[in-house]
Point group: C2
Chain length 774, copies 2
Amino acid sequence: MRSDYAVVGKRIPKLDAPDKVTGRTVYADDLKMSGLLTGAIKRSPHPHARILSVDVSAAEALPGVYAVIHAGNVTQRPFGFGHDNIPLKDRVARCVGDEVAAVAAVDAATAQRALDLIRVDYELLPAVDDPFEALQPGAPRIHDELDIEGNVSMEWNFQTGDLAEAEQRSAVIVSGSYSSPQAAPAPIETHVVIAGFDADGDLEVISPVHMVFMYRKELADCLGLDWRRITVRQPPVGGSFGGKIDIDAHDFIAVMLARAARRPVKLAMSREEEFTGTRTRQPIHFRLRTGAAADGTLLFRHAEVVSDNGAYNAWGSHALLVAMNTVTSMYRVGTSRLAAKVVYTNKNYGGSVRGFGNPQATFAVEQQMEELADVLGMDPMDLRLKNANRPGDVTPQGLEITSCGLSECLETVRRKSGWDQRRGRMRRQHRGLGAAAYVHVGGGARIYGSDGCGAMIKIDDSGRVALISGSSELGQGSETALAMIVAETLGVPLEAVSVSHDDTDVKPWDVGVHASRTTFVAGNAARMAAAKARDELLEGAAEVLDRPARSLTIRDGVISVPGEPTATLRYEKAVRRRLLREGSSIIMTSAFYDPPTQRQDENYVGNISASYGFGAHVAEIEVDPDTGMVRVLGLWAAHDVGRAINPMSCEGQIEGGAVMGVGLALSEELPVEDGRFPAPNLHDYGMPTTMDAPPIDVTLIETADELGPFGAKGIGEGGIILPPAAIANAVADAVGVRPRSYPIRPWKLRRWIETGERSHVDKHPHPVPDENAR
Amino acid sequence: MRSDYAVVGKRIPKLDAPDKVTGRTVYADDLKMSGLLTGAIKRSPHPHARILSVDVSAAEALPGVYAVIHAGNVTQRPFGFGHDNIPLKDRVARCVGDEVAAVAAVDAATAQRALDLIRVDYELLPAVDDPFEALQPGAPRIHDELDIEGNVSMEWNFQTGDLAEAEQRSAVIVSGSYSSPQAAPAPIETHVVIAGFDADGDLEVISPVHMVFMYRKELADCLGLDWRRITVRQPPVGGSFGGKIDIDAHDFIAVMLARAARRPVKLAMSREEEFTGTRTRQPIHFRLRTGAAADGTLLFRHAEVVSDNGAYNAWGSHALLVAMNTVTSMYRVGTSRLAAKVVYTNKNYGGSVRGFGNPQATFAVEQQMEELADVLGMDPMDLRLKNANRPGDVTPQGLEITSCGLSECLETVRRKSGWDQRRGRMRRQHRGLGAAAYVHVGGGARIYGSDGCGAMIKIDDSGRVALISGSSELGQGSETALAMIVAETLGVPLEAVSVSHDDTDVKPWDVGVHASRTTFVAGNAARMAAAKARDELLEGAAEVLDRPARSLTIRDGVISVPGEPTATLRYEKAVRRRLLREGSSIIMTSAFYDPPTQRQDENYVGNISASYGFGAHVAEIEVDPDTGMVRVLGLWAAHDVGRAINPMSCEGQIEGGAVMGVGLALSEELPVEDGRFPAPNLHDYGMPTTMDAPPIDVTLIETADELGPFGAKGIGEGGIILPPAAIANAVADAVGVRPRSYPIRPWKLRRWIETGERSHVDKHPHPVPDENAR
């Protein structure tokens, strides 16, 4: 495994970090422009209500108001998955926060006064916020315009193998229910969108969205615009974590306001709106059973899943895609069945938050692994290692496992955490160790016709190497990783490389940021374009050095002939020599990389990603038995990153994800009361602070993926997936009760301790005490 | 000559016009940004003075002042041609307006107060503002640090043929002196520059400069910066006309202020500073002799030239390059000699203003053509046609004349103006007709190692075709012309094409806007990149239509098989079919075009341009004999544009240039008194208004240049070159006196009428009356 890289593998602070930490970065909300109006949205205060009338006359009459819009005075079409949503609700509000009208005014105070002057008459309708109630016959119909039964918007059913036969063969079967809450990505920067038309009617939208080209198409489809005449610019993004992947009603509303007001309009979500009006992580409820042979060989998994996706479907309805992978393909499981329903409820609806269904699924699957091990009398690590995915495996869903460091990850955290010496031996101190592992797409995820990304490179007379990438930097460090890949491939110093990626007028197409794909997919495109540029550079240098191009090398900007120390040429000179002469030229190259993957077929089979990432965590926790408070004492994390392009950034991704995972595990939740989030603020939501971050020990396992750029594969989501499962397992180790849902808030854990919540064993190789049978 | 184009040749309003006329365009001075400081410059009030001391302590102490800089507290190096200038003058001020210190403050009022608090002690030095005086022994030495004689900074000497022999053979020789004033480009938008460093020390400069890549290099060279870490962005430009081609002291000062203040700084020139502190059109004085045979065959031209370039040398010192072309190559002139000196004077210095030496040279050459014709008793048009350049000519300077519509231009304006019926027959009404013709580079001008330009094209899923061009749009309409070239070449509708050209991080290298080269050079690059994209598009369509790609055509976005009306495919579908599949890709192409030209050798011989533009004007004027006021009654203009990509834009360029030429001819002037411009404002300067624009009749002569894109060649400067010469000739026709200089202001013409200024004839085929002999 080659490791003599000049740039790749070095610890490089993110290129955009200095501006961010010194406050110089100009985010969307910081942008100043002439004539910019402030937009604001009138939202439904009711979880379910018929909109009888909207009277905007008083708002329109208010001085300083440029536009007041509602469904009755705009042209809009349905949007969203299944086209079940519309920007300004025309007939029914289906959740608190639903957009009913909007204004554009000279300033925020005027906009707010105008909102207050809008009169909306509602007829209240019965609402349902529990998905199981929503499934009952006679439950309120949330989308009566759709031809669906029992508020079920989608079903996901997968089956492989003979379940009955596998049950029969199993020596052990454990079963249980595992639930997750409505959570939120809660980035520091709320959603901000600025829209404006030029005098020709061309639209510019400034938006921190992930998927700029698809966003543009959706704007056009919904609003009847020519999408060729829409430019999307992406300012620096103050965090997204998936929350900004979807197009939301407010994006369309900003454009409609700009059209009505004939001036640019900014819509910046308040923190409250960020919780109530933008996308959340959908609660998913698993009823899971796992069976194994007496030697620990996994024989089946069987999951019945209900995804509580709220009032509408967006990308969030597809979190089952990832959850299904974990059920069928985490470890070698021959037989599996999954039956999942996505259910409408009268709540803010789910989106595609970091991990995308996987923290929820892993919470079920990986608790059940330790439950199973306990019943089998095996060490859970041994059980995992016995069943671990290995290079060359093809899972029942068709996932082709190529590079795979799962066993090494497990062995690493086992060793570093002192697992063998300490697990199951600290109950007296109310301490415990718990583990979890994951599989997640690491080489893109073909959820659209193309999963590709374009890259263009041009080198100017200064020697500046400009990469124009289709990708988007959301804070994940992709700009730095891409610059490093280009610098390494071309053989130039990192500081010679700039990356542009913020303007659809300039950057080549990319499907967008999702599925931890940027380093892999955009990185491969950048690498391919840089390799072409390197060839051209060396061809030019060959003339000067009078050696064949193939005999030349370049490193740190110096082109040389191995073995001839005096035959060198700085690359900038080669560039200028090519330019500053008759018949001049410069180096411009391009490449498009689409990973060799398949869209899954109607049976959910297909190799959706070009590589898969694996990892394992061990969490050590301590429970205060009086309060039920859980403190995380340490987290050992080992992740198969293929190759760490920038180890500092990989570690940052893993640590950041892990802290978010600790938040999910212990505190983050948006409880609903009467269809409302009663406290949509960061404090009550339970956002962890720096003080809540445990010590995290990160090990990067480098498996050098065959297809990844320099062997790299995705790591953007890995860190968040495991803490809920690992911490739940650690709680079970510490206090002997089995967390059935997260966040594991103190009062919940106290109740579980009081009621003695245990693992459910449906089949046992040996006689078992009553307490475990239930 | 093919003319069935779908887009080329159509009259298309400029794409950026709607925003400009509705006030939406955001110019540099309109940009708003956080923390932006206002810069201001302390300038020398003296034309020549030693700087004894600069005391900035009181200015630095003023609240709201962030930086005060002067030569004593900054690091700077000389800049300009011959490195004879420095941003903040360290020792000597050589003209009124010379930059001595600068401040950055919270607002303009504070900046002005700070300037007032800076104390500069000067020792006055003798100054000289007349170039002929500057040439005298004993004249004040303006650059005593340079090893030059008599304030001569450059000499340009060209000679071909045997002058004495040609004089001998000549039947007629006329001679005379012809002078031009210090004039100004005077765009509506004054110079504005914004500079700021990010937290990494990377510099961004927002500047309406023409030549962004060279500008960047000069910033780096002067200020000791890494030019790879400088980004230049070019906002929409509110007119330049060459005034913004040079890098000026204020550009460096803005960067030094930003560095000192650690915040972004804007320097916006006032109208007074625009006249006194930015580049002007240098006065050029010609002593010219022309000889011809009795049949009118031109035998020689002999010019002695003094260019009064002011206190420093910038691009303006090279106006002789163009002036020389006109002396040696306008019409077939076998023998020519030119001896030119560029002279320092204590005045604001010359730049590269539209026409770049050619209006001045043509004023001399083309008056002398009519003087010669009159003495020969020939019609001036006949004389011109007899000697006209023709396709295939190679001039003594090595200019290779390929496409050439000069004769057609002359015949057109002759016919349309009623020349044969009216010239010389309106003296009783004090009316006259005068003509002039020009040659000017029309296919680039190799003044730098490369005269090339890069282009990149990418097509996204909407079918939007994005051209990223190295070129810059200064209001000349290049964006529209380039979009048309791409649309025509690719076969897509014009509205599908966008052009990006404003950011050095993104756009490929280009030498910059000069020499009427953009449509030709950037147009060829765009055409080449579009042709590659077309090939790729048709290859993809070939799969769908099941026909070989070479059998397909595309027009208006429809790909079809000739003769098979049903076999069609919209190009957007071909694009999306390529993208939305496994193994997807998009179309990305690039091209670099460097015209096949030569840098002129040390003897000024070389084919500097890939094609040459020609044109002819006839002006009709009326003189008020009491006041000397000249009114232009009409202007007939015929220009060989090769091919009119956008006839509306070609006409606009010609009309706009012609109005500027009328301004030069009749009113525009910056007179100097004691080294000062006493009235640096648009009114006293003599800027023509709409009311001063004569009726202009434009004929586009299309010669379909072999190398130009679709046959096009440059037309950006043509319109301005001829009016001074044509109007002077018309004045001679109307009142019988010969204007020796422009502007032909009323009091000057009255004096010439009173003194009876006539043509000077050194040799005459027939006995002549005394009055013509002198």
